[in-house]
Assembly symmetry: C2
Homo-oligomer: 426 residues x 2
Amino acid sequence: MKKVNIGIIGLGTIGKGVYKILLQRREFFKRKYGIDFHIAKVCDKNAKIRKRLNIKPKIFTSSFQNVISDKNIDVVIELIGGINPARDIILRSLQSGKKVITANKALLSQDLSLILSAAKKNKTQIRFEASVCGGIPIIKSLTEGLVCDRIESMVGIINGTSNYILSRMMQEECSFFEALAEARKKGFAERNPSLDIKGFDSAHKLSILAYLAFGKYVSQKDIYVKGIEDISPLDIKYAKELGLVIKLLAIAKKVDKNVLEVRVHPALIPRIHPLANVGGVFNAVYVKGELVGDMLFFGKGAGQMPTASAVISDLFDLAMGKGSAESPQKDIIKKIKRIDNIQSKYYIRFMAIDKPGVLAKISGVLAKRKISIASVTQTERQRARVVPVVMLTHDVREKDIRLALEEIDRLAIIRKNSVVIHREEF
Amino acid sequence: MKKVNIGIIGLGTIGKGVYKILLQRREFFKRKYGIDFHIAKVCDKNAKIRKRLNIKPKIFTSSFQNVISDKNIDVVIELIGGINPARDIILRSLQSGKKVITANKALLSQDLSLILSAAKKNKTQIRFEASVCGGIPIIKSLTEGLVCDRIESMVGIINGTSNYILSRMMQEECSFFEALAEARKKGFAERNPSLDIKGFDSAHKLSILAYLAFGKYVSQKDIYVKGIEDISPLDIKYAKELGLVIKLLAIAKKVDKNVLEVRVHPALIPRIHPLANVGGVFNAVYVKGELVGDMLFFGKGAGQMPTASAVISDLFDLAMGKGSAESPQKDIIKKIKRIDNIQSKYYIRFMAIDKPGVLAKISGVLAKRKISIASVTQTERQRARVVPVVMLTHDVREKDIRLALEEIDRLAIIRKNSVVIHREEF
């Protein structure tokens, strides 16, 4: 029987889940796969947790040094999160030839190249299925299932908190703050939710996915990021009427042979698109491959057991001798497109005073910048002196939209800053 | 550099795709993975194809014996389909210690146990990702991604032809035959589409998926199968009004600790369910795991390149030393539930003459069998003497519904056979 000695560092929510599953299913894994996953050491800085989880004193330590220096340990599972000391733990474990599993998206999004090359240099492996989309085997699918394909684009809903908030706003027509309060009450938003709602958590995950899908490491500073804080119930209402649904999307798309677009922002998508029905805290990634065509992976993006399950699938792969999660893609991407230069469709809402000639003025400015309009709606004429004018554009360069709106917002007929939201079609 | 000698048997649509990809990407695979996938032999009974594909005479053969007996070949890719001689090819290849890849769902659904034990006995491997859902890595996800989970249920739309027909009927409110004709014209239905529209193709795939998800081989005779031929535009219209969508579902569900339900039939599902938006020829599988919760895999279920891509992902796994596609589940399922005994919700349409007391008579019979009604609609009172009465039931035993309808259909007030369709909620 093959024995795998495991050191778990960090007994937070996910660490506890991993510990529990490994204990509970040890005999089953032995019988079925002939592998004995033996927990050799468990580490948490909070020593009180030992008693609470009934961990034997001789395998518990509150210093991660004791795990890294234990020659007996084959695989280190790092689940403390954050940059330090997680990075030190991972790098030193790899340097001592141990295999490593981590769920640490913040660290990976920053140091993925460094960590992968440390694994390679020390002839060992690192896997990180749990770092993106919890229980959904998206990394396995990109690196193994689609191993011979070339990915054209990847569009994900990869932050459960934001998706919950937007879903509630759609359903209840409530404000962002009401929806956020509800998410907090239900435990779907952290005390400080800014990483989630401002799009940075999505950007972390996107840089990992983009690397796997396109073989190009994209650093955080090269990802355009916009959050959902400014989305108003008014725009959600108009979007609905137009058959559109609002989602916080993480997009990585090959736009030229060697140019990539990488961005996170709210976007309107057609109600009938498979991503439109990804509600609540669910996650999904829509992938277009040259060979496989369109594909969607949907599931719980967070939570103790889905994430722990992903950690253990990595453990199996390492035990079975499967290598690091490497991108199967050729490193052909040379350039990340600046957001100014991307082409997109847009939704725009102007708040204009209600008098003849308004539309002519607005469309005059748009025409000057060669912004072509797909539709115009002005629904609430009777109700107020200042009325919303909603426009959908065809494909336009982002910079042109920005400049046009700056000019329009200076017009005397415009009473509030205009709202602009990306539209994605697939 | 690791060299893998490959024999391809069968140069139909998928075989050609595999041949093409292996040739085109050989240098890339060498460079990136250090594996040389070398096509050692190509076999097709039609010798003319050799010239058409520009295959060197010395690697071409029209007798599969020459592939099986070639000691040099490491992996045999069987892509001729059907039972004979595919079965012989696979078994004899395994017996001679070769690894095997196949996309042959008809054969696997019949002889999966036999074939898997032949692989085990001869200490070699067989993989078959391409046999179910084309390019979607569903087998990899079930056997590796969810390796430590226990699957509770699996509901799939796994026949593209039927899904195309039902999607068109929903969209266009056309008849089954009109939609079938359109599917034929577009190349989405074969000349003889009965395997597809009668549900047998779904049942083939379901027995493979059920084995992987539940560790229990379910033979075709234990799967209840009903096709889509009798679905009428009328019921589709009423379903729509009730917020329901019709799909041909392949269902495998653990209903008790050791009892499994395995069935293929049209079913009505809520419009907001992720499966409801799987349109056209797309496939999807909705999986519920004890740990991971709900998960959906969506993509192209057929076609040359998606399927060829799945074959090649198997090839990588074999080259990387990954074993056979084995079910990670304990073999705890002891019993397959008979369709008579399953519990389901139903949609029923009666065609009754329009006079007072009709509803009382119908509901009297239903009450006698303890069939509880969730809603009743009777929409077209003014139009005809015989009117449709549409009922949705709560959970009921299938047999009770059948007996009740037999009795109701004998009533004088009923003018046509009643229509009954399963409803699934998730």
